[in-house]
């Protein structure tokens, strides 16, 4: 018989390396037509970092995403970057790029100021223009400024910068310190059906509320959350590397290492939490790893809610779930005797959902 359950799990996760320096450097070049090129040593590993980093540079320069071309991943031509690891790219590399873009923008302001008859600090970059703050009617196209900078003033608009998160080392005896500059937080709630005769678990629905500071590109944040959840489902219910008694793997292949397919995915509802981290680029933090963190916990709690069975080791295979159900049933049968001895307690609120 199928029993339905729901489970909640929340988590926190840090951005960047633990205490250790993990800098990123970047170069932003404004081309003489107002478009821009970004040089970054990071590597695109599928998460969409190059797109996000381009959006950050574009925002700082007041131009559009499509006006920015991002060059990456060549130690000969791109500056150092600690890498696509520890969910650090948007925050650390993003900050480096924003700072580099700001420096390039400063050159544009220096050049545009006399053209507009104002001081550089009165200027802002918006909508592909360099314009006067609070009086945008006085403006020049960013292309015109960039061209003037390079060919008339002989000052090409480029900037380079690096960024490293601010940490404090941990005391070797107590572990006290500031290991990370910032953290992200999230909650996932899972709804499952558990077959109490076979132990099979079907994940029906997951609601995910993730904090990532400002979502630079909400579509890519959703993609990370959906992907992270699929890894979480595999971790919770399916995946396991098995070894024989001689330390050799029994299932080093995708036939016998079970991981989620399109058939295993639930309905996912993503709800990005509104937040702004002043230490991040335009308030952004990160999202790559946190998405895979609370899923298994939410599913395990949902299984417990459905059939009263606590699985203590992952993955919660049907065998383990059945075994846990049996343990729970045995406990239930033993309860009436224990109740007579203990103080009478209020009955736990009914947790089972009504069958839909």
């Amino acid at each position: 018989m199928k029993k339905r359950g729901r489970g909640i799990a929340c988590m926190w996760y840090p951005i960047g390396f633990t205490v250790a320096a993990n800098a990123s450097a970047a170069v932003v070049k404004v081309n003489e037509d107002g478009t821009a090129t970004v040089l970054t040593g990071t590597v695109e590993t599928g998460q969409g970092s190059l797109t996000v980093l381009g959006q950050i540079a574009a925002e700082e320069l007041g131009i559009a995403t499509d006006d920015v071309h991002v060059v990456s991943a060549d130690t000969d031509t791109t500056p150092m970057d600690t890498g696509a690891i520890a969910s650090r790219t948007t925050y650390v590399t993003g900050n480096a790029i924003r700072l580099a873009a700001e420096k390039a923008k400063e050159i544009l302001f220096q050049v545009a100021a006399p053209m507009l008859g104002v001081k550089p600090e009165q200027l802002e970059a918006r909508d592909r223009k360099i314009q006067v703050k609070n009086y945008p009617q006085r403006c020049i196209g960013i292309g015109e400024v960039a061209n003037h900078a390079q060919f008339v003033m002989g000052q090409p608009a480029l900037g380079s910068a690096s960024y490293n998160p601010h940490t404090v080392s941990l005391d070797p005896e107590t572990g006290q310190g500031k290991p990370f500059a910032t953290y992200v937080y999230a909650t996932q709630i899972a709804e499952v059906d558990v077959d109490d005769e076979t132990g099979e678990v079907e994940v029906l629905r997951i609601v995910a509320s993730h904090d990532c500071g400002t979502p630079i590109n909400p579509m890519l944040v959703e993609g990370q959350i959906e992907g992270g959840i699929s890894m979480g489902i595999g971790f919770a219910l399916q995946e396991e590397m098995l070894f024989d008694k001689n330390g050799k793997q029994l299932n080093p292949n995708l036939t016998n290492y079970i991981m989620p397919t399109s058939l295993d995915m639930p309905e996912i509802e993503v709800d990005i939490v509104k937040n702004f981290d002043p230490t991040g680029p335009f308030g952004a933090k990160g999202v790559g790893e946190p998405t895979a963190v609370p899923t298994a916990a939410a599913i395990m709690n949902a299984i417990y809610n459905a059939v009263g069975a606590r699985v203590h080791s992952l993955p919660a295979t049907p065998e383990k779930v059945l075994a846990a159900i049996k343990v729970a049933r045995a406990k239930q049968l033993a309860k009436p005797k224990a109740k007579a001895l203990a103080k009478p307690k209020a009955k736990p609120a009914q947790k089972r959902l009504a069958a839909r």
């Binding site: 590993t45 599928g46 998460q47 969409g48 579509m219 890519l220 959703e222 993609g223 959906e226 992907g227 992270g228 959840i229 699929s230 890894m231 292949n253 995708l254 036939t255 991981m259 989620p260 397919t261 399109s262 058939l263 995915m265 996912i268």
Partner: protein, 166 residues
């Protein structure tokens, strides 16, 4: 050596390959069609999916020799110089691909589905994509893209004409 003459993306092509060469290897190495990927080489992951005579297959499981006289459609054969194939466009607009490695295989499986079933349900889409593993995306935006593509394809003149003619 095995001689093979086949049609790839509408063009007749030939190759002479060692007999143990898979269709995947032949596509990638002899014809430089590197869209189909090698993810496992044993038919588990679907990254090598192409369409042979209208059916989606794992090209790592077919020997090159089996393709003599047959027609293969790969990812490189979908777009024309003028436009992306609607499936490719929808995948792009929905943000369905992340690292992209499973993409060509996933798109070919999507095409095979929509060729056979122009109005698939979500369950049917999941089923059609079940042989294509993806580790990055969780499949969610791919299912959306296939639904969008289906709508677009149903609305195209060729399909409308076919519908009108019964």
């Amino acid at each position: 050596m095995t001689d093979v003459t086949l049609k790839i993306n509408g063009e007749t092509r030939s190759a002479s390959v060692p007999p143990e060469t898979t269709l995947l290897k032949m596509l990638r190495e002899n014809f430089n069609l590197t869209g189909a990927k090698l993810g496992c080489d044993v038919g588990d992951c679907g990254a090598c999916t192409v369409i042979v005579d209208g059916m989606s297959v794992n090209s790592c499981l077919m020997l090159a020799g089996q393709l003599d006289g047959r027609e293969v459609l790969t990812i490189e054969g979908l777009a024309t110089p003028d436009r992306l194939h609607p499936i490719q466009k929808c995948y792009e607009d929905c943000g369905s691909l992340q690292c992209g490695f499973c993409g060509p295989g996933m798109i070919m499986s999507s095409k095979a589905l929509l060729d056979a079933n122009p109005n698939p349900s979500v369950a049917q889409i999941r089923d059609a994509l079940a042989g294509n593993l993806c580790r990055c995306t969780g499949y969610t935006k791919m299912i959306e893209a296939v639904q969008e593509s289906a709508k677009v394809l149903r609305g195209t003149p060729a399909r409308r004409a076919a519908k009108a003619n019964g």
